[in-house]
Amino acid sequence: MDDKLVIAGQELSSRLFIGTGKFHSHRVIPEVINRSGAQVVTVALRRVNLDYPEENMLNYIPDGCIIMPNTSGARNAEEAVRIARIARAACGSNWIKIEVINDNKYLLPDNYETIKATEILVKEGFIVLPYMSPDLIDARRLRDAGAAAVMPLGAPIGTNKGLKARELIKIMIDEIDLPVIVDAGLGRPSHAAEAMEMGAAAVLVNTAIATADDPVAMAEAFSLAVKAGRMAYLAGMGAVKEYAEASSPLTGFLR
């Protein structure tokens, strides 16, 4: 089956993107990435603690992966742009996940500031994947600004609640001619499969894998779910009906 995800002209081998936060040990990350098959991997940029310099996360990401730094910590477009520029200088990757958050309780992204940051960074040659609250009109604005994909949240970050924003994301998938990648909130492989069955181009998973008892096995479980969901989407699912419809013939009964 020739079914490659292409983002900004780049063919990707996996529709599962992985985040590297919250793992108990960095040492498990290479194995998580390998078992998941993920090619796109997110990282964050933070100030060095000069009293306790720690290791660089990039050392744990296998060669061949696309590093997609996020702009977490940014509260507005200006900060996101600054972080993106520093991140590109530091890792040499043009890919950037724009994340602009100024709500501390639900960590909901600020679409308005995200659109502004996208406009600026696209002009500077970045491959921009904005994290957003699911909204068709804002997704169109992001497309017009040159985003390479849009990444609506399934549920608030780290909640593991699943595809709570389902109906709004479905509208985006139906209407936007860009890859729609469900980011945040997916807590189980079945949630990822549900997003893929609906026609999402990919999913980005972090907390659900990082906080599993066995992150490596969970990474593989998500990988299988993403493949199954994608295959079901392409296969075309049967219609949902209100009343029963027998699977066996209703004629020729032995009576």
Partner: protein, 66 residues
């Protein structure tokens, strides 16, 4: 003299280069990225930058993130 490092006022010796400041902190040039007065500076430039009073440094690295 005083400079600001990652948002904190810090006292450093007059005339110290960026390279020596970072070396004294035990930082590996391959593992950090430095912004000097809001300009990103590559590690090759560190030797040539002499820190001045009230300079602003951001010393950053990649960590896990989603």
């Amino acid at each position: 003299m005083q400079i600001t490092v990652n948002g904190q006022k810090t006292t450093v010796n007059e005339g110290i280069t960026l390279y020596n400041f970072l070396k004294d902190k035990g930082l590996d040039p391959q593992k950090v990225v430095v912004e000097h007065n809001y300009r990103i500076v590559r590690s090759e430039e560190w030797q040539n930058i002499v820190l001045k009073e009230n300079d602003n440094l951001e010393i950053l690295k990649f960590v896990g993130g989603g």
